[in-house]
Symmetry: C2
Subunit: 124 residues, 2 copies
DNA sequence: CAACTATTACACAAATCAGTTTAATAGTGT
DNA sequence: ACACTATTAAACTGATTTGTGTAATAGTTG
């Protein structure tokens, strides 16, 4: 039952080790917590995934895309903007959001891939 | 100011796109949220990082390593165990924890790498 | 300026969460 | 059986978070 790794996965490494001997610093752990926290919300994840597939999109269009109110969307876009993950551009009445931190999207992509892997494993 | 990507980073892809045209499903977003949530806590991150560097470790040793009470540690280890990220083995009085989900550790490693990248960028 | 649209700001209520405290459980040694 | 250690369970508190409702702001159009 412990033979979890079939070596036919697309994301998971066979074995991960941390080369450094030192434990992670409390400061770095806090930074990591912040990073994961911003991704630990299904609304923000859907916003990010939506924005990652287009050049830019205005709030009401995003709200329609995820079927939520513009207020709720604006709340979360603000948080993504505060972290520098997305940025805005005003054009008339609309405010257009776009992804500027590709790294975070890369992390999201990796996480989605991991989930797919475990689903595959679960089906065996 | 928008030229963020210097192409000398170690983790961040230059540009990430999601090949699929469909938006992420609410169900998958919820799964992702759960995955990131478990990582969105500095205590759990320190536990994971500690465990990823050894074969296995008992609760009191982990508690010492991160300088917290065994009760607090046990709380979080339980949550990691519930998700199948770590597993336990009893030996006498001690209960030894070990990492069994290397994928999650891989995600942690990638996140740490991203943070290092942004620090490097910030210093420029 | 007035009416309208798009977005954000703010206060709020419900839910979730982390660490503490206290108590219970499991195993060891005498 | 008893004392002891290691770990977990359960209840509790304070803090954080999310979407909602309402109001405010910015821009457009007539």
């Amino acid at each position: 039952m412990l033979h979890k790794h079939k070596h036919n996965q697309t994301c998971c490494p066979v074995h991960v080790t941390f080369p450094e001997q030192e434990p992670i610093s409390a400061e770095k752990a806090a930074e990591l917590e912040d990073l994961f926290k911003i991704l630990a919300n299904d609304t923000r994840l859907r916003l990010l995934h939506t924005l990652a597939r287009v050049e830019e999109m205005c709030v009401c269009d995003i709200a329609n895309a995820v079927d939520m109110t513009p207020q709720a969307i604006s709340n979360q876009l603000q948080r993504l903007s505060d972290r520098g993950i997305v940025a805005t551009r005003r054009s008339g009445n609309q405010i257009y959001y776009r992804v500027v931190d590709e790294c975070v999207v890369g992390l999201l992509q990796k996480a989605m891939c991991l989930l797919d892997d475990s689903e595959k494993l679960a089906k065996v």
